[in-house]
Amino acid sequence: MTPERWAQVDELFHRIVECDSNNRRALLDEACAGDLELRSEVEELLRYEASAHAKVEAAVHSQINELRFSLVGTVVSHYQIEAGLDGGGMGLVYRAEDLKLGRRVALKFLPEDSAKDPTSSARFEREARAASALEHSNICPIYEFGEHEGQPFIVMQLLEGKTLRELLQDQCAQATDSDAHGARPALPLYQIFDLGLQIADGLNAAHQKGIIHRDIKPANIFVTSQGQAKILDFGLAKVTRYEADTFDADSTVTSLQAPASDALETKPGLFLSRTGVAMGTAGYMSPEQARGERLDARSDVFSFGLVLYEMATGQRAFEGNTGQSLYAAILGQSPAPVRQLNPKLPHKFEIIINRALEKNRETRYQSVAELRRDLETVQRELSPRNPLRLWMAVSGSIAALALGGLFFWATRHSQPNSQGVPELKLHQLTANSIENPVGSGAISSDGRYLAYADLQGIHIKLMDTGETRTVSQPKNLKNSRVDWGVVGWFPDSTRFLVNLYADEMPSSIWTVSVMGDVPTMLRGDAEAWSISHDGSLIAFANNRGTAGPHEIWVMNPNGEKEQKLLSSDANTLIRDARFSPDDKRFVYVESPVTYGTQEPALLSRSVAGGPSIKLLSSQRLHNHLWLPDGRLLYALAEDNERSCNYWTVRIDPQTGITTDAPKRLSNWAGFCLDHTSVTADGKRLVFKEWLDKSSVYTAILQSDHAHITNPALLSLSDGVNEPSAWTADSKAVIFDTDREGRVEIRKQYLDSDTSDLIVRANANQYAVDPRVTPDGKWILYTAGSSEDGPDAEASMARVAINGGPSQTLFRYRPWGHRCTYFPAKSCLFCERTEDRNQLVFTSLDAFEGRGQELARFDTDPASEYDWALSLDGTRIVIRKNAEPRLDIVSLSGHPRQQLVVKGWTTFMGLNWAADGAGIFTSALVPRGSILLYVDLKGNAHSLWEHKGSTGTWAIPAPDGKHLALSGGTISSNFWMMEKF
């Protein structure tokens, strides 16, 4: 570009930007006067103008953050650093995974200077160790102390929530002009007491053990999403050195006073003299602290009083622009009475505060316990018949347990004063049993209704009263087995859209009125994904693709004016179109027809056409939604798909590209998310939480092979527990399991409540299919990476029956392996050829590894196969997909046999009975699965009906009598989340 042209563009750009938007076009026409190049240059710039500042700023800031959190992606000690946490007021904190224990933790680095001073280092260690022994629900536990390149850090519990300081700041931010007298907002009364009592409990527990905090302040009190107060940094305050920092005036200042000493240092030998050592955070110091005197528990009382003061009034009791004026205030001034700032406070509360803030510690509360007692009395007087803590009622404790200790707040209407409730308020909406899991659902735009579908049909739940109505089924469908899928509500909240899935019939789109009338069909042979926010468009797929949709279509709410928005090539599926808040764009998922060949991606595109913009891609992408505030919400699976969490990323509404880095919204474990919907105001979000679980059962097989007795649960953990072998003595079951996101192989004796660890896979690795060698001494298992696709290579590994180090035998493309029972002495494994045209069976030895090829079986490349080795090693049974036909291949030269299981259609699981006279398999039925014993003529005997099951199978013990059974279930229910 020439300088002249640049000047022209510059000049015109400003004229256009600065003129009224209505006149822009005319001005452009006039100014460019046929100079098309100039015009297109300026027009293009104009398109970027709105988002430019944010974009450039984000580029700089994201780099700065990366610089700040430089350890992300590295391993410190045995902690895999995953991300930096914006722990407002918490210092430099990382989220990390403890590679030894497989749990998530927070890693907090301590200020540089405390490390340099050997005396303070020793003290740090001594004190922090004492403090870490504190075990109290209101103290954040410290797990470990470490040092990384001379930098001390502590490992502590990973908490989800905010510091009290952030909470108070939010309160400030939420304040409106209507606040009387322009007063700063305080926390709601119930919360002042609730948090106050909890903090007092934590402090008191520490004081009982002789440990003083010395730096009680809002930034050191964490309030979890569950509303629990946790005091941070016990034992750390004293060694924390604060530097003079002009830009840090409201937080910390250097004490210019004499060296600090305190109660724990009365022994002369331990007195450590330092100069210029900082003390507690200036704004929350006690007078004795400001004077540099010895500290005791009463100093914490004073600081706690200041915290209570701030919670109750929204203001700090003492403020000063400089350290000196602050000290003067702390030492000499009485803060404004709390009731003057917040008249709603009880008179007695003011008395408590005043007594806590006595300058002379002799006249102050002598202990936190005393203060706590008074606080509790006032709280009780406030609401004599209705203790305030009850507002935090936990309903449905079983569901709460299933969610791994996640519990939720009472609903809004039961607690009028709920504005200060911490983030991610959760509330369970449905309580379906595992026998009837919820399938789909959506909240209405106005938030009044939840429409959801389960095995019994479609239901409409009134959110206010909880009353639920079931929608009548269309008459012609009364006798068929159908599944409904709730898509979403129209913006007027009077109708919603559902998909109908029925056997032997293409899916179709229906509308349902909130009055609960019979659904009416809108369009046949299609599946809807979403409705635009203005209600004018329905995004849907026709059923043209064999593997899934290749086209995105829209139509109007009457099922007319169909228009194709997008189509994909034969190798790519496109689905789940959802509209932007202004309905001008949509996001959709693109995924490969063949799993694993490419990561599924989220893309955005204008409804009017134009290029698709790739936003993100991940194999673990689960669900997405464009929120009314412009953020894109999506769920990502973690821990081998055992957990899902929400993330958000902001999208530029015009360009459809991301404008900031993705943020993690939740920190949940043990369940996944699906079917997310949101109210029109964006305040309430509803999602289906689902959790699949499988357990190991044991039972006794009767000699007629037609019954089992005494089925009993063996495994006791949630998550996956899948049996695959027995020890040679038939006394213990070997199973693989999923614990805290790690796959493990375990052994459990029938008479024991606990299991023994044999193998523990690394993070993102699996170790499955443990089989015991015929001599009973070894376990052969398959190990690989969880990130790999289904046909990827994995390792065959060997481990002793009692555990110990594993040996890798060879790499292969796993299609299972089996071993016989003694006296037969063989194991074999199966591979699928790369062209998927054959299964190849090869003998397997615990030491020699890969042996010679034993058999081949021709396969249909598009189908999946199950197989099992008879326990005498003579025959292999093979089944294609879930079909009733079984092929039996002899390894001893006999001809092949076929048999068809009579009376059932869909199968899973395949194992020979111990005596080789029959086969165990299970039939999948609408309400669960049924374990069958099939004789070699195809006659099936039903052994066990497992309701709500996602499938079961049986592993016979060598004694021919015991069976290990697998039983999988899915529980799923809808939850509502607020404040996200």
Binding site: W6, D10, H14, K55, I64, I81, D248
Partner: protein, 186 residues
């Protein structure tokens, strides 16, 4: 170089540079650069009140440390910012390049990295676009450095560049828009 003599040097060099001695800038740059680098590194480990590393804080702090003046006159500081903003850009870009190279080599990926985002324009792309901008319009490039890399306000940018606030605002608006477009198409 010991602290006090560095202080002396920086103050002197700033004065010389302000007085029109361009060579002073050559001597000044490595001193400021080193201090910024040191500060950036120490920021990684320090507990901070703001907890977001702001270029403003970094540059201001570098100034205070180098010049030992917590309340300097604006005229003195403006020269310093001119140097510091460019150096901040350089530091961040270097760092980003190094990090990208390290990432390619590393086996472990963090949870966030595992999701591959369509790369939003990063600081390296911004740097390239800025280099192009500098050729077209050096003042606008300087304005961007001051605003985004040194974290100055528009008024402060105007003072450093010795232009009116309206001009600074226009410079920034045009430049930032052009950069955004350049990063998108580049």
């Amino acid at each position: 170089m010991h602290g006090s003599s560095a202080t002396h040097d920086v103050t002197l060099l700033l004065a010389q540079w302000a007085g029109g001695d361009e060579r002073a800038l050559d001597a000044l740059t490595p001193l400021v650069y080193r201090e910024l680098r040191r500060l950036a590194a120490s920021y990684l480990r320090k507990e901070r009140k703001s907890h977001t590393l702001q270029p403003t804080a970094l540059v201001h702090e570098a100034y205070i440390r180098l010049v030992h003046q917590s309340n300097p006159k604006w005229e003195d500081r403006s020269h310093f910012f001119g140097v510091a903003a460019r150096l901040m850009r350089q530091i961040l870009v270097e760092y980003a390049r190094r990090k990208q190279a390290a990432k390619r080599a590393a086996y472990t990926v963090s949870l966030e990295d595992a999701v591959s985002f369509e790369r939003s324009p990063d600081v390296v792309a911004l740097d390239q676009a800025l280099t192009a901008l500098e050729k077209l319009d050096p003042r606008k490039c300087k304005a961007i450095e001051l605003r985004y890399f040194a974290g100055l306000t528009t008024d402060e940018v105007a003072r450093v560049l010795a232009v009116s606030p309206v001009t600074a605002q226009r410079d920034l608006r045009m430049a930032v828009t052009w950069l955004h477009r350049e990063m998108r198409s580049g």
